[in-house]
């Protein structure tokens, strides 16, 4: 793999270089706003502001992919974001909601993240980076990372075009993952690429086994009744849908008359059955949505963060969709060239899996 080892302070120069050399027309990257971290879109290289380490900050606001979803534009956008955001972007490319040629995807190592609110409240204590020891320490103080991050087994910067890997101390390694990524890095004068083979398989395994342990410990939703109970408080505000990076329909079924019966329609149904639950479609809404994202859900947890009724949706969406993905042996966002499983599976293969 071609890459370069830098001081984390040098990343500023790298981003500036990408803009300067017109590798990208614009960059979306996390920046610090007061106690918090949010996404910023930069076109002028001089506006790339230090301290760049904000890109590693363990905070999750919105999924960056959700921001650029549907931007079918000529200009090239560089996106610096956590692996789950980059993976969502890759799924969106497959779903033709973005153009592969017009985005440069730069993933950064993620230790797991706190909600926007938690991070803002404890910015001092948390800081720009947390390792696992620190996560445990903070947990002791009642400051916990998001459940979605706890069960996430894909936190390393190994997706997208470029990966920014944290090393011990203040160093980072920037590697080109795709040809586009290598080309982009080569365009920058200050950087000279060399072969960088970083083996992180041990780390990956460790993360995966811990994540699996955490996932298995979650309470299971094992029946429709349990699901109804789980969703009891849902008000069908559809915030989870709006914040979901891979929920991409232009006009959601649940905004159409059939999916969103109102007034007379509801009265008709009520008359037929004697009584119906309102808000209508509570269960149907989530089941449809979980089906729609079943292969593409990257498990970023944005849905849970968006829920005004604090329903732990992580236990529904990433957990169930992961099962589906395992059936298809599909990892969403892993490779932009890999076709969506629904489009290529053979019925018989599926029969074998489900038996």
């Amino acid at each position: 793999m071609k890459g370069v080892e830098l001081k984390s302070g040098d990343l500023e120069g790298l981003f500036k270089g990408l803009l300067d050399k017109k590798v990208v027309d614009s960059l979306i990257l996390p920046h610090r706003v007061g106690n918090n971290v949010a996404h910023m879109m930069v076109t002028d290289k001089d506006k790339v502001e230090p301290p760049v380490p904000a890109i590693f900050a363990p905070s999750f606001s919105v999924n960056a992919a959700n921001v650029v979803k549907g931007w079918l534009i000529k200009e090239k956008i560089g996106i610096v974001a956590k692996p789950c955001e980059i993976r969502a972007a890759i799924e969106l490319i497959k779903l033709k909601q973005m153009d592969k040629e017009s985005v440069l995807l730069i993933s950064v190592d993620c230790p797991g993240a706190f909600t926007n609110q938690d991070y803002a409240d404890h910015a001092e204590e948390i800081g720009d980076w947390v390792d696992s020891a620190k996560i445990e320490e903070l947990k002791g103080k009642g400051i916990a990372i998001r459940e979605a991050c706890e069960i996430c087994d894909k936190r390393l910067a190994d997706v997208g075009d470029i990966g920014i890997v944290r090393r011990d101390g203040d160093n980072v390694v920037v590697v080109g993952i795709t040809d586009m990524g290598v080309e982009a890095l080569s365009a920058i004068e200050d950087i000279s690429l060399e072969d960088k083979d970083i083996d992180r398989s041990g780390e990956i395994e460790k993360i995966a086994s811990e994540a699996k342990k955490k996932k298995d410990a979650l309470p299971e939703i094992s029946s429709v009744e349990a699901l109804e109970e789980f969703l009891r408080d849902c008000i069908v505000c559809k915030n989870c849908r709006d914040m979901c990076p891979v929920c991409y329909c232009k006009e959601c079924f649940f905004d159409q008359p059939l999916g969103n019966p109102v007034g007379g329609d509801l009265l008709n149904i009520a008359e037929l059955r004697g009584a119906i639950a309102v808000p209508a479609n509570q269960l149907m809404y989530h089941l449809t949505r979980v089906y729609h994202v079943s292969t593409t859900c990257v498990g970023c947890g944005a849905c849970e963060d968006a829920c005004p009724k604090d329903i732990p949706l992580t236990r529904l969406y990433p957990v169930i969709t992961k099962k589906v993905q395992e059936i298809f042996e599909y990892v969403p966002g892993k490779d932009v060239e890999e076709p969506l499983p629904f489009t290529v599976y053979e019925e018989e293969e599926l029969e074998d899996k489900l038996r």
């Binding site: 931007w71 991409y248 232009k250 079924f253 149904i269 969506l340 629904f342």
Partner: protein
């Protein structure tokens, strides 16, 4: 004049329909009062066959002569006079399809205990278990639940009384076992067998039964079933332990073999056709459909024991040959143009409930249903007076004409059987045929609901249908002309035979082949298997000469690629040939794929092949047999692993060449190492001959394959239960057959799925194949070793069948565009392209339209384009796109969401 088809079983029905659909007058003569033959007795088959029976019964070109028997036949091809139960019929050709009977079962199999049943009856029991109160499979003797079930194969076949193998039993036993396991997973199944003679998909099914379902396949020909103390005791040899074991079973199914129909000998006498020594109509390896009397064709189990799949292929093939001797005299149904009345917004729903000759009226209180349905809004007319399909159709037609009905709800037998017929009735009366809603009151209600619930369920089903009917829309029916030409891909024996068949029927044929010369795989062969000693070259020469001489056939050789676009009736192709500067462009209405199979698998590394010079393959060995044979000890190894599949001819070839080696050199020690000897049908005689001539057969297990080291072949004979070593002068390997290289490309182009590299027929019911040469792509047919590596007679029958099916299509002047196609709501479409990717026929494409991109509610950047899905020609209405589209931008005409939801709202 016309064509007489004798026998109303599956073969007769198939032949009759192929002929009648292409405009020939058919006299279908059946001795029983009902159509269906043996298949009628098989629950699953009955369901599969019934649409065809309904079609025959309502076909204008078929003169159905039930309870009739042929009494006399005189005249010659082109002018036969038949006397049928007193009636005189004049025809140009005759197709014999009298079917089979089953042999008497030896008394040792349980002395008539009710718990010992033959397979045919077992099918009935499985069906009964579906509708019984408990839904369990129970013993006939005492009603106890079956826990241990045994199948005994080769009952009444491969024995003295019936020397040959019945071919079909291995597969149908596996399918019955599968059905039992699927429905009653707790039942333990034991299958006693000698050789498992299955191929292709059936082979996989057997593997699945063994591995996944835990079905025990035990190699022992169980000779007796002893009813003892409430159980049926069987003994079998545990070959591994070398012991005799006893097993108590609750029920035993005897897989009885097939014999020629009892009527066959009389039929042969009347018609003068020769029968072979087993009593079957005599046909040959190179003319499997022709009898000894010109103008009289034979098909199905009258010529040899075979499965439904082969029977049907033979029937279609025989139909083609019979048509060749006859003149088309009848119009082809469905070719007239319809004008439909404008129905506007007016909702006048008519409900028609057919009693189905008591099958519905017996378990459903029809007057009560009528009363409740009459109350429904928009229902202006209810008719429950009819008892047969024909009566019901008359009632619908007059309802539309006299009452001005604008929606029809028809409740009766399964739509699988009658949907086309009811739609035609609507269309005939001037109502758009898609303003019809069908209710399956027989199969889905009367047959499955207990008498208590049936009436209530019927009311619910009708209410749902009436509700859905409200939302039905008129769908325009368009027509396009059929190009009366065909493309045949592959110039081997199958392709040439198909091309000749189509050309002889009067259509132009383009025959393309990748080779420099016609002939295909058979060019590599020398002597054909069997005692006939026919030379492949002679067979080929005759075909090649005929093809070359035929003016209607255009031959293209060295063809690299055929780029085909279009749909049934109207295809276009560019033919790209090696060394030709310009591509040839052709048009055609139907296509036959006959790419054959490859035999060039090199077993490099197996048994020292390639290194040891005395290790050879069967095809090389067959060539050696033409010369002097020096080898004194020969080991033939069957089922050598490798990519590819077991060919139908593989075992036959091994046994045949072993026999020929022994005949050539009687003192030679010839050993055949095998897993299963698969000399199906009459080929069983080869196996017997080989043994009697002194060939030694040693059976090995897949897990313990033979080894060849230091000049010694070691094999663990699982029947002998010991290791046996041979010092051969010659080791002969039988290798698997591989699909043609072009299959992959053609599969993608035509969207016809492959299985192990071979083309799959259009799927029918899970247990049977009734359309062996049809594919999911209407207008494209498959045959020969492109479907599975087949024997020459099968290739010829199948390719005639494919030609027949193609001719049925080409005989039409027009085809209708499918009405139930997909439509896109462009406003909602988000352009993700999943529909494009999953469309099985590539009928959807994404088009780009310029649109502004809106971000955060503000038009910030002017985007390039927006992608929108468009449905083009060729949509087959499968609904894949509509079911996937997340934003429901895609929907299927006639299955609009609102139509389905209206129905569901009533259901929930």
């Amino acid at each position: 004049m016309g064509i007489a088809v004798i026998g109303g079983g599956v073969a007769g029905i198939t032949a009759a329909l192929d002929l009648a659909d292409s405009g020939y007058k058919v006299h279908l003569i059946e001795k029983n009062a009902e159509l269906g033959g043996k298949m009628e007795e098989l629950a699953e088959c009955q369901m599969g066959l019934s649409p065809y029976i309904a079609k025959v019964e309502n076909h204008p070109n078929i003169n159905l002569m039930l309870s009739s028997e042929l009494e006399r036949l005189s005249g010659t091809a082109g002018d036969f006079k038949l006397s049928v139960s007193g009636n005189e019929v004049g025809v140009e050709s005759v197709v014999l399809a009298p079917g089979y009977d089953i042999p008497e079962v030896a008394k040792s199999y349980g002395y008539g205990s009710p718990d010992v049943v033959v397979s045919l009856d077992f099918e009935g029991m499985l069906k009964a278990a579906t509708v019984s109160e408990t839904g369990e499979l129970v013993r006939p003797s005492d009603g106890k639940r079956v826990k241990k079930l045994g199948f005994i194969k080769c009952v009444g076949s491969r024995c003295q009384e019936n020397e040959i193998c019945s071919t079909a039993c291995c597969a149908y036993t596996a399918k019955e076992a599968w059905e039992v396991k699927e429905r009653f997973p707790d039942i333990e199944i034991y299958i006693f067998y000698m050789d498992i003679r299955v191929f292709g998909k059936d082979e996989e099914l057997v593997a699945e039964l063994k591995d996944k379902y835990g079905v025990k396949y035990i190699r022992s020909r169980v000779p007796e079933v002893i009813p003892e103390e409430g159980a049926l005791t069987v003994k079998f040899e545990n070959l591994e332990k070398g012991t005799i074991e006893k097993l108590d079973l609750d029920m035993v199914v005897l897989a009885v073999g097939l014999l020629p129909s009892k009527t066959l000998s009389k039929l042969a006498e009347i018609t003068g056709v020769k029968t072979d020594k087993y009593g079957y109509i005599e046909t040959s390896l190179t003319s499997p459909l022709e009898t000894s009397v010109p103008g009289i064709l034979a098909c199905g189990t009258a010529t040899a024991p075979m499965k439904v799949r082969e029977s049907v292929a033979q029937a279609s093939g025989a139909a083609l040959k019979a048509a060749g001797l006859s003149q088309r005299t009848e119009p082809i149904p469905g070719q007239e143009e319809h004008k439909y009345i404008e129905v506007g917004d007016e909702l006048k729903t008519g409900v028609f409930i057919c009693g189905c000759e008591g099958e519905i009226a017996n378990s459903i209180d029809i007057p009560a249903v009528v009363e409740r349905v009459s109350e429904l809004k928009d229902v202006v007319y209810v008719n429950s007076e009819t008892n047969t399909l024909q009566e019901a159709m008359d009632a619908i037609e007059s309802g539309i004409v006299d009452q001005g009905l604008t929606r029809i709800v028809f409740a009766g037998q399964s739509p699988r059987e009658c949907e086309d017929i009811v739609r035609d009735a609507c269309a005939g009366a001037g109502l758009n045929p898609y303003l019809l809603e069908m209710v399956n009151l027989r199969e889905q209600c009367a047959w499955v609901q207990g008498p208590k619930d049936a009436t209530e369920a019927a009311v619910d089903m009708l209410k749902m249908a009436v509700e859905r009917a409200k939302y039905l829309e008129e769908i325009p029916v368009e027509r396009y002309p059929v190009i009366p030409k065909a493309l045949v891909i592959g110039g081997g024996i199958s392709g040439m035979n198909a091309a000749l068949g189509i050309a002889d029927a009067g259509y132009e044929v383009h025959l393309v082949d990748k080779g420099a010369e016609l002939g295909g795989g058979l060019r590599e062969s020398t002597e054909l298997p069997g005692p006939g000693g026919e030379q492949a070259a002679d067979v080929l020469k005759e075909l090649v000469d005929k093809v070359t001489a035929n003016e209607r056939i255009n031959v293209y050789t060295k063809v690299k690629e055929e780029k085909v676009v279009g749909r049934a009736g109207s295809f276009k192709a560019k033919i790209v040939a090696e060394g030709s500067a310009e591509d040839v462009e052709i048009e055609f209405g139907a296509c036959v794929i006959a790419t054959g199979a490859r035999r060039d698998f090199v077993p490099e590394g197996y048994f020292g092949y390639g290194k040891e010079k005395n290790v050879t393959t069967v095809s090389e060995f067959v060539k050696m047999l033409a010369g002097k044979l020096d080898a004194n000890t020969i080991a033939l190894i069957q089922d050598v692993p490798g990519e590819g599949v077991t060919a139908r001819y593989s075992s036959i070839e091994v046994v045949d060449s072993a026999l020929k080696a022994k005949e050539k050199n009687p003192d030679a020690n010839v050993f055949v190492l095998y897993q299963d000897i698969k000399t199906y049908g009459k080929w069983e005689v080869l196996y017997k001959d080989a043994r009697e001539k002194g060939v030694i057969f040693l059976r090995y297990d897949k897990e313990k394959p033979p080894k060849y080291e230091d000049g010694i072949v070691s094999v663990y004979d699982v029947i002998f239960n010991d290791e046996i070593q041979i010092k051969p002068d010659l080791v002969v390997l039988s290798t698997p057959a591989m699909p043609a290289e072009a299959n992959e490309r053609l599969s993608e182009m035509f969207r016809i799925p492959l299985k192990n590299g071979f083309f799959m027929e259009k799927p029918e019911r899970p247990k049977m194949v009734l359309t062996p040469v049809d594919t999911v792509n209407e207008g494209v047919f498959i045959c020969g070793s492109a479907v599975y590596p087949a024997m020459i007679d099968e290739c010829l029958a199948m390719s005639s069948a494919a030609a027949s099916r193609a001719c049925v299509l080409l005989a039409k002047d027009f085809l209708e565009t499918p009405a139930m196609t997909s439509v896109v709501d462009e406003e909602i479409c988000v352009g993700c392209g999943v529909c494009e990717a999953i469309c099985p026929v590539e009928a959807i494409e994404l088009t780009e339209e310029p649109v502004p991109v809106v971000t955060f509610g503000v038009t910030t950047v002017v985007g390039r384009t927006k992608k929108v899905a468009k449905v083009g020609d060729g949509c087959i209405g499968c609904g894949s796109c509509a079911s996937y589209c997340p934003s429901s931008a895609m929907s299927l005409k006639y299955f609009r969401d609102k139509q389905v939801y209206a129905q569901l709202d009533y259901a929930v």
